[in-house]
């Protein structure tokens, strides 16, 4: 592998001793008003070197506005920010020299080829000549567009445009990559490709990545840490597991499958210490088991295997369910809208099952819409 011999400019681990003081992106009470409307409300955000940070929130939560302020493309109404050690409101050019940006719904000049578009970006970054051409070839290869590089971009698919957008952001060889909705309007396989590409960039080039998305489950797999953004405020930051601990219902969830002809395992499961609930999902034939507190899930798994053996239940599968960012997000937003402070502990909330109600509500609505549609088609 040539990877090992290639001199790396920055290694992910190499700068960790610099610690948080060298965070490439940091904001303090960053605020943006549009007239009376508050788009971003006193945002404190920190993205550490070499991590992929996911900014999650619904459309209109203030993600794009935040990103534009970080790039110096919009003047903040208040607060301050530091990007690669500089204030983007005062030194936008220096910041933009070091930060690659993939805008939401990125576009290219349709009458030019992919390569020509990248060449234009290279020139705007002060790159030219043979060096730039080699660099363009390299980033095109990196995003897998070498074959189509000399086709006009108006013949590209949306996924190809998105990948060309990433190549475009990489042209300036940035320290920080900011991606606004990189996976929106792309097919599932394209999404996987893009997320893999991001992982590789962080691993191989030691880049710091900030990405925003409203598609929570896609981002879950790729982000080291996520920040949950709602109504211009950051209501939770951490790894998915940390957020699950903060905003979840305090239980770990297991999924178990038994041979269909086995007797009902329900009573035996519920008798196990630490298991608070066990219910059969009729659709999939799996049992969903809640373990409380969540720390006892390993012990509970052992106990389930043991119990199954003792009762002659043929256990065919048992695994722990990753906490879904979707659930966390819903719980966090629901919590905020009911006026809970962010750092309040969840114990007070655990018994309210607010998120479960929210789940049901959402499901009902989907069912209704499906019903309505089926009625339309039958009528």
């Amino acid at each position: 592998m040539t990877t090992a011999t290639r001199p790396s400019r920055r290694r992910r681990g190499g700068t960790s001793e610099a610690g948080n003081t060298a965070s490439p992106i940091r904001t303090r009470a960053l605020t943006k008003h549009y007239g009376a409307r508050i788009a971003v409300d006193a945002l404190d955000l920190e993205v550490r070197r070499g991590e992929i940070f996911g900014l999650l929130g619904q459309n209109g939560a203030g993600k794009t506005t935040t990103i534009l302020m970080l790039l110096g493309l919009t003047e903040p109404s208040g607060g301050s920010s530091r990007v690669v050690g500089l204030d983007p409101a005062r030194h936008p050019l220096e910041v933009k020299r070091k930060v690659g940006y993939l805008p939401d719904a990125v576009g290219f000049y349709g009458n030019m080829t992919g390569r020509e578009n990248l060449r234009y970006t290279a020139r705007l970054n002060g790159l030219g000549g043979a060096d730039a051409e080699a660099h363009i070839d390299a980033v095109l290869a990196q995003v897998g567009l070498t074959d189509r590089a000399d086709g006009r971009t108006d013949t590209y698919s949306r996924g190809m445009i998105q990948r060309l957008g990433i190549a475009d952001a990489l042209i300036k060889d940035p320290d920080v990559l900011i991606l606004d909705e990189p996976t929106a309007s792309i097919d599932p396989i394209g999404v996987i490709e893009i997320l893999e590409l991001l992982r590789r960039l962080v691993r191989e080039r030691g880049m710091t990545v900030l990405l925003s998305s409203h598609l929570l489950d896609q981002v879950q797999t790729v982000c080291d840490r996520v920040g949950i953004f709602a109504h211009g405020r950051l209501i939770g930051v951490g790894t998915v597991a940390e957020l699950a601990a903060t905003f979840g219902d305090g239980a770990a969830h297991l999924e178990a499958t038994f041979q269909p002809d086995a007797p009902d395992p329900g009573p035996a499961l519920r008798a196990i210490d630490g298991i608070t609930d066990a219910a059969l999902d009729a659709g999939t034939g799996t049992w969903r088991i809640a373990v409380r507190p969540s720390g006892g899930s390993a012990a509970a798994r052992e106990a389930i295997v043991e119990t199954a053996a003792r009762h002659g239940l043929r256990l065919t599968g048992l695994h722990e369910l990753e906490p879904s960012l979707e659930d966390i997000y819903r719980a966090a937003v629901a919590g905020m809208s009911r006026g809970f402070a962010v750092d309040e502990t969840i114990d007070e909330r655990a018994d309210e099952h607010a998120d479960e109600h929210a789940d049901e509500g959402a499901d009902d609505r989907i069912d209704e819409s499906v019903d309505a549609r089926s009625e339309e088609t039958s009528a």
């Binding site: 020139r123 705007l124 002060g126 080699a134």
Partner: protein, 339 residues
Amino acid sequence: MTAEAAAEVQHPRRVEPRRRAGWIIVARKELADHLVSARFVILLLVLGAATIVPIYLATDAIRDVANRLTDTRGAFLLLFLLTQSDSPVPNVLTFVAIVAPLLGVAFAFDAINSERADGTLPRLLSQPIYRDDVINGKFAAGLAVIALVMFSVFAIISGFGMFRLGIVPSGDDIIRLVAWYAITVVWVGLWLALGLVLSVAMRRAANAALAGFGIWIAIAIFGSLVVGAIAGVLAPVASAGSLEEFLGLTGLSETIQRLLPLTLYQEASAVLLRPDVTTVTTPATIDQYEQLGQQIQGQYLAFDQSVLLIWPHVVALVAMTALCFAAAYVWFMRQEVRA
């Protein structure tokens, strides 16, 4: 997307000092776009072909006149001014004054809003250039294209004229022609700046084009009618009781008509192209009127005297163009990146 490909990435050395101004890079790209665009080819063909017809008529007219001319000074410039008296085809000057603005609007109406619609504007602005580099570069590229097209048209006319008439332009003719060329570029530049304003103001390129052509029709066709009517009300020349009053009202009427940039351009052009035109304003007093009457026919102005005569026109046209561009500039700088 292979790991090998990623590994081959060679980072170019950052050479900091060798950095071209952003607007030049933008202008170069825009200029290249314009020159291969269909609209450039179409406009060049239309303008080029359409000037041939009045030129053809003009050469015939000049042949008739030339026999009676005692002084051939400015004869070459008659190419741009004459047409056959019974022909509905306007002379070249009228033609350029009316049609060339289209050129300005056509190269600017989609400058900013198409970048916005295509999603290229945020990408462009996130590069290390100043925001005004974008609009400055686009204006510069537009001016360059206009200069190029007008130069081609003028060259075609001159070449054709020399071929048909056998008159070679004198040094004075050439200087006057270059001056007229310069003021024509400013005149079209005014429309370019107007197109730029529309492209900033209107989110849809089609709307901006419609608005631009609407304004063009309003000024080129109805403008003189409307301004003439206003002048007629404010300065009723026909009702003048004495010569004194008549001259005053005529002066006022002329001033009102000059509010229209088209009038400014046409007057300036006429003076530049005709060395025998010694005044652009009706004399204000009876004394001046009598003086004018005593002037010897066939008197010619030197080039610098002609320029002196229309200097206010030139300043006004340049100022209008600058103002229009400033409006587009300020508006663009204050606009949010996101629509």
